[in-house]
Symmetry: C2
Amino acid sequence: MAKKYNFFAGPAILPQEVMKKAQAELLDFNGIGLSIMEISHRSKDFEAVINGAETKIRTLLGVPENFSVMFLQGGASLQFGMIPMNLLIGKKADYVNTGAWAKKAIKEAKLFGMVNVAASSEDKNFSYIPETFNFTADAQYVHITSNETIGGVQWMNFPETNSVPLIIDMSSDIFSRKIDFKNIGMIYAGAQKNIGPAGATLVIMRNDLVEACADGLTTMLSYKTHAKEKSMYNTPPCFIIYIIKLVMEWIESHGGLAGIEKINNEKAKTLYDAIDGSNGYFKGTAALKDRSKMNVTFRLPSEELEEKFINEAKKAGFIGLKGHRSVGGCRASLYNAMSLEGVSELTQFMKKFAAENK
Amino acid sequence: MAKKYNFFAGPAILPQEVMKKAQAELLDFNGIGLSIMEISHRSKDFEAVINGAETKIRTLLGVPENFSVMFLQGGASLQFGMIPMNLLIGKKADYVNTGAWAKKAIKEAKLFGMVNVAASSEDKNFSYIPETFNFTADAQYVHITSNETIGGVQWMNFPETNSVPLIIDMSSDIFSRKIDFKNIGMIYAGAQKNIGPAGATLVIMRNDLVEACADGLTTMLSYKTHAKEKSMYNTPPCFIIYIIKLVMEWIESHGGLAGIEKINNEKAKTLYDAIDGSNGYFKGTAALKDRSKMNVTFRLPSEELEEKFINEAKKAGFIGLKGHRSVGGCRASLYNAMSLEGVSELTQFMKKFAAENK
């Protein structure tokens, strides 16, 4: 079987080393004669897994001590509702509208309080990140989406919010680069891009915000519950958390986030260079300054050629290159587990395709 | 390595055939060169998995056509809140209090509407299932817990609710026996006992109840969303759903629920016979008529002997026999994947222990 490269926007590929280790110990974890899927979440073996995953996350991201790390469920989509339910009720928050994911977060927040859209890039089909913001002085928080998978834009620097807590949906670029926790009140991310398989949501929240969460919520929807019970109020998604721990070990072995960021920069440069060096055959859709290093969006001279490109690429082993149905075109997602080799091979294929399909 | 038997109340063991198949295809699913964890939830390969899982669930349980099958997240604990949030707001519902799990459901429901506890077995430490009920005529629904893992009691027959929809938390005995959907409006279950690994929640809901759900809820907490989008509003826990499909195939290969129920009856009889035939050395804690076939709770002559029994059993390869910390004693959970052989070996060990520790 020929090697396949999966450029899907998510769930994404996982590191081969991680998958091989998971396979090797799938029937017998730690020599206990049972799978990690088959033991109590209150067992010492699983406690070591979840505590180990948390410790590695804290170390890799440099999470300050006054933050809680939680493993939840329901994806970023549930967070869109949980955040305002806990922190907004009847008050004001600022949201920056940078694309489909930000819009979903805004829609849910409006169910619970007053939402000020402090900036939007909808005027240019979400092809850039705004640089000026109409922030509210008494906002409970400012919400942004660090990377938009559909428009292919990414915040290179987070906005200055002057002591208003910044809440960031990092679903599609967490662990792809170092981050500065200054201004940050909370970050969250569905696991299925850079963290692990679908089925867990990582939430990292400053403890004063946890304390400020609304009372009277149903237990499972209160961050207070999960911070206090260290993600063990009820049975967590044990196997997903186990894979997350393995992925964190893989990141460590690649020089941590500094090492990963360097490789991600090379991967993105390789692909954007191929696009920009194609004499206009391929055209990037995002503003140069805001080009995402995770999701590279581009067009070909016609929709017919795009369809042909996507199909021939698939036959050659490069799958998932179709752009999101709402915008069309092509998209290559370069999450952490995608190798530089995979990106280089894709650019070779692109060159060949362009030469043969003038 | 000696064979181990895991009698934990959950997460439970999974069938060996399932684990071996999962291991064999972990790196290459369907010959696509990628793991089931590494592909888009919108891909044809995953769609076949989730549709296949649903079809098998419908066939095995005999789910009537006017019910929706949903794969959610957050465990039964999130359902405790979602049910009243969707169906109770400001109205009345009847709950039967049979133990720790029913109590949790009651606590969450009280946040949203009026709760009538129609019967309770708290007077005898939840050691039996009530038989008379003080139902409300205009209740939105009647909620029961089909099996209580801590008290070790199980409903042998569901109550007659006279057209009021019955909502049943079946987390710990779903797929252990045939069920009659008469009166049933909804059943739900965390996956980690008889369905698969922790990380998915199965919800089966009559469509008129789906339609009756409250509007204005945050999107992810509305059953309408998940019924309409067929569990694909956002990324579902793909790998867990894949294992669920394998578990359903395993149940099929054991004669469906009729076959599984027969084995479960034998397993439970074997263990209860050993308890009842021990001349009072082992004593079952549940009322005879309500003894759970999933969680067998029993005591030894003293707490010291219980501790010794649990420790020596562990050394002999029988793990997870400690009763829940809130009640003490011993508990052996006999979920579907536990073999009759495992139960027989446990009873041999019990006999030997009793003889040696008079």
